[in-house]
Every structure is written in C-alpha cells, then in structure tokens.
C-alpha cells in the first residue's frame, strides 16, 4: 500500500489505532475490580418493602390493665414526672409563636427554625458504623411493637452517640424486643423451655417498655455466639415471640446478654406537648394506638387520619410551623407517597397533626425512650494515632486499646 501524502499516512495510522482499540475493547472483557473492604460491618439487609395497596402486618394488642400495673411500678411513670426539666423552657404555647432556634440535629434548617429532627442523628450514626445510608425496614409479621421500639431506641441512642455521650452505637434487633415483650415481660421464664407466648402475633407498649428497661434490654444486629441477629428474620421473630428472647431452649443466655444494655429511661407520654418536649431533648416516642392513616401525604408531608390500625410506630421529630409529629412506620419505604418536609424526612414516614397525635397518645401506651446503657466511654488512647495501620480503627474505641 502506498500513500501519496503525509496526511493520508497519518489518517491511516489514526484509523488503525482506533480499530485496534475498538477490537481490544470488545475482545477483552473488563477485568473484575477487586472488592475493597471498607473495614466497617455490613449493613443489615432489608426485607422487601410493602407495596402500595397491600395489607401490611400490624400487631398492637392493647392490655390496659397490664399497662396500668406497669406504670404503677415506675417511680416516675410520666414524662412530666421523669423529666420535669424538659418542660422548664419548652412551653409549647410559646414555641408555637416563638419557634426554637436550630439544634445540633438541625445543622442547616431549610427555613426559619421550625422544628427538631432527632432522626438525623440516626442517619449520621448509621453511616459512621455501617458505611451506608439508613433505610426504613419492613416488618414481616405482627411484630410492629418491636419495630416501633427498635426505631425509638436506635434514634435515642444515636442522639447520645452524636452528642458524644455514648461511645458506641449499633442498630437494635427487633426479634429480641418482640420475644422479651411477649414472654419475659409477661412474667414467664426466659429459658425457652415452653412456647409461653403462643403462636399468635402482637404485643403492647408497656410490655416492650418493661422488657427494654426493666426485665431485659437490647440485643443488636450482629452475631452472637449462639445465634446471628445480623439480619431481620420474621421467622425468628415468630419463634422468639413464642419462646422468648433467645428462642427455644435458650436457657436464658440471650436474656443475660440483653440485660447488659437496658434502656436507661422510659416514661409515659400522653399529649402533644409532652411528646414535643421529649423530642426536643432527643427522646423519640414509640406510639401504640388504634389510629389509621391515608397512604398519601399532603403538600406539607402530613397524612390524613383514616381508618383504624391496631399498630405501633414511632414519633421521631416535631415541627411548629404547622404543628405536628413525624411518625415512622415499619412497612418499608414505598407504602406512603407524596411531598416530604423536610426533604430528608425518612421514606416511609409521615407527619401527624396535633389533634390526631393527642388522640393516639390518649391510649396511654406510648413512651418516651432514652438511649441504651452499657456503652461506657473508654479513656482516649493518646499513642495509637501516630501508628494505627487502618485509619478507620478509631471508629471502634475498643480497637484503640489494641493498636500496636
């Protein structure tokens, strides 16, 4: 082949290179990329969310007499008695006309100071611990009470974690709350020798409160020696709901583990004012009621009260521009649609107006819950930072003590 000019030669070379690159690209499949470990624990996977229109599981079974007896066992049963300081500077009538300034959990308010959003602490702690964004889970049986309390304790603990008052944060496991509430908190033995709880579903707020605060505590989404709670299992929830925390023939070992991490405080919340005061201080409220809601949000993110749900959810934020509480469900992220406010409000949540909140709380089975106990701070290791091989190790204070 002859080229009469240099430009023809150059064009031929360019075409040749182009064809070669194209052929190589087609003939050589992309080399698999090595999987880089982040060094963080895997985030707990989620159950498939509830599709709009499907009938989701609920599981709230009111037990007014037992709830009353539990309250009488508490030295300070109500939020006003347990936390009088919460009300000193939080007169709600004043708040409605003079909204509070932003808090640590409201770093960049979308508009003038309009609420308190403790769920943002959950976003931060979850990302720090698991390396991914938190997503709302989906209950698989009628274990809503354990989900409502799971969300409450997760957020309350995240608030403390983000404030620097809790050394570690982990996602609580629902199955342990469910089993403990149904069996041990009802006065049955926690050895798993019999299916004391029976095979029907459901529980109530006071039972969960008694378990997490008094009789037991919290297990987390992680592997334990006799069982693996890393992933939510509806089947395990069913089993533990019958045999108690730890399941069949557990011998009470799981109860002993849970008791290391009790919820520090629980207190009955009966009105919007009380709930708002609790949320302003970072205490969410697992709410048990018979109130149902529409599956669409209005322009402000509120869902209309509609129908009857024997259900437990969790109040996770308060706003005052249009007064209401943000309610987090446990049916995944897609069961409710419509506008959101603020933009980062969790998928699967909706705002509830004051009147409806007061009706829900009048059931007197909803409690403000605090962070878990049992994560004491360890003193800082002032030597390890000059030599830690993995920069992520500082996330786990326990690892600091083992640094070379």
């Amino acid at each position: 082949m002859k080229f009469s000019t240099i430009s023809e030669l150059a064009a031929a070379v360019a075409i040749g290179i182009f064809v070669s690159v194209a052929v190589l690209s087609i003939s050589q499949p992309e080399a698999p990329q090595p999987k880089v470990s982040s060094g963080l624990p895997d985030a707990p996977p989620l159950v498939a969310p509830v599709a709009p229109g499907n009938t989701p599981p609920m599981g709230y079974q009111p037990h007014p007499a037992e709830s009353k007896a539990f309250l009488q066992s508490l030295p300070n049963p109500t939020i006003r008695e347990a936390g009088p300081d919460l009300f000193k500077d939080s007169n709600i009538r004043k708040l409605l006309h003079d909204p509070p300034k932003g808090t640590a959990f409201q770093p960049q308010p979308a508009k003038a100071d309009d609420g308190v959003y403790p769920y943002r602490a959950l976003y931060k702690s979850y990302r720090q611990v698991y390396g991914t964004d938190w997503k709302c889970g989906t209950q698989g049986i009628g274990d809503c009470v354990s989900w409502g309390w799971h969300h409450g304790i997760a957020i309350a603990s995240a608030v403390e974690h983000q404030a620097g008052n809790l050394a570690e944060w982990k996602l609580p496991a629902t199955e342990a709350i469910y089993g403990g509430a149904r069996v041990e908190a009802s006065g049955h033995p926690g050895d798993g020798s019999r299916a004391y709880g029976g095979w029907s579903d459901g529980s109530y707020g006071a039972a969960a409160a008694k378990w997490v605060h008094d009789r037991g505590g919290i297990l987390f989404r992680e592997k334990y020696e006799p069982f693996d709670l890393s992933v939510y299992s509806a089947d395990r929830a069913k089993q533990w709901g019958a045999y108690g925390c730890g399941g069949k023939s557990d011998g009470g070992k799981a109860d002993d583990l849970a008791k290391k991490h009790p919820a520090k405080r629980v207190a009955l919340v009966r009105t919007f004012d009380e709930a708002a005061a609790a949320l302003r201080s970072g205490y969410p409220i697992p709410v048990c009621s018979m109130q149902g809601f529409a599956s669409t949000r209005d322009k402000d993110g509120f869902a209309r009260a509609s129908g009857s749900w024997a259900h437990c959810m969790c109040f996770i934020a308060v706003r005052f521009d249009r007064p209401g509480l943000l309610c987090l469900n446990s049916w995944g992220e897609t069961w409710v649609t419509g506008p959101k406010y603020p933009e980062d409000m969790p998928e699967g949540s909706f705002w509830v107006d004051v009147g409806t909140v007061n009706r829900m709380l009048a059931q007197e089975d909803s409690y403000a819950v605090s962070a878990v106990d049992g994560f004491p701070f360890r003193p800082l290791d002032n030597a390890g930072w000059v030599s830690l091989p993995n920069h992520e190790q500082h996330r786990n204070p326990a690892s600091l003590a083992m640094a070379p």
């Binding site: 932003g102 808090t103 640590a104 770093p107 404030a163 620097g164 008052n165 050394a167 701070f377 360890r378 003193p379 800082l380 290791d381 002032n382 030597a383 390890g384 930072w385 000059v386 030599s387 830690l388 091989p389 920069h391 190790q393 500082h394 996330r395 204070p397 600091l400 070379p404």
Partner: protein, 163 residues
C-alpha cells in the same frame, strides 16, 4: 607626639578593630556569646527522631510530624469558633481527626515503624497536657488540646532543626 608614635597608635587601633571584627564574625555577628535557644516546652523529640541513622530522613520525618501536629492544633482552634456547628465536639472527635490526618498525610505510613519511642513520648505528653477524656469538649478542654498539640509541633520542629 612623634610620627612613629602616631603610626604605632594607628596600627594598634587597626589591630583592635580587626580583632573585634574577627571575633564578631566568629560568633555569628554578635559580640557576646551566642544565646542558646530555649528548648521547647514539649517532649524531647530530638532523642526520638535520632533513632533513625539517616539524619536527613529523620529531619524530614520530624518536620512532617510537626506539621501534622500544628495542623491539628489550628483545626481544633478554628473549629471551636463555630460554636454549636463545630465538628470536633468531643475527645473522640479529636481522636478520629488526628488519626485521619496522620493516615492521609503519610499515606498510611506509621511513624512508630521507625521511631518506636514516639508513641510513648506523645502519649505521656498528651495525657499530661490534654487528658484522656473522650467526652464533650468545653472551652477549657479545647484550649488544652490546642496547646498540647502546639507543644508537640514545637518539639518536632525543634528536632527537625537540631538533627
């Protein structure tokens, strides 16, 4: 005065001037004895970095460590001015930040690999000056951390000059 005496005095004056000039030059331009720079208040990092027989490399490492410490001090100080919006709110936060900064500045390389005594020197200094409290920082504890890292930076910079 004779001409010889006058010449003699001129020679003597010249000799005195020459002698003064000579000794001034010998003492770095100063007439008196050279003042010794005050040793930094922080730990003795000259001894620590002397563990490396390659003095040029040790000097570089000391300067690098000093820069990291100075950066930590500056960051903690500036961040504290953000009030409620500060990012370094607790001892844990400072612990995380200093680990990240050291890791990314050295691409993960460990100072303790070549200077095993650094860990102890740093630990003793920070324990004494800043404490080990992992919880919330206030104005006083923030200042202690800033001063403690400034002290470390000064010691490392001094080691860099002395090596």
């Amino acid at each position: 005065m004779t001409e010889a005496t006058s010449k003699y005095r001129l020679l003597l004056a010249a000799a005195v001037i020459a002698a003064v000039a000579y000794f001034a030059g010998k003492n770095g331009g100063q007439l008196g004895p050279q003042p010794t720079p005050a040793p930094p208040r922080g730990p003795d990092l000259v001894a620590v970095f002397s563990a490396n027989p390659d003095k040029a490399e040790a000097k570089k490492h000391a300067v690098c460590f000093g820069a990291i410490c100075a950066r930590i001090a500056d960051t903690v100080e500036v961040d504290a001015k953000r009030g409620d919006q500060r990012r370094l709110q607790s001892g844990i936060d400072i612990s995380a930040y200093r680990s990240d900064l050291r890791y990314y500045t050295t691409s993960g390389w460990s100072f303790a690999a070549k200077y095993p005594a650094l860990r102890t020197a740093v630990e003793e200094w920070l324990d004494a000056e800043a404490g080990k409290d992992p919880k919330q920082l206030d104005e006083a504890t923030t200042r202690r951390w800033v001063d403690a890292f400034r002290g470390l930076a000064a010691s490392a910079e001094h080691a860099g000059r002395a090596l």
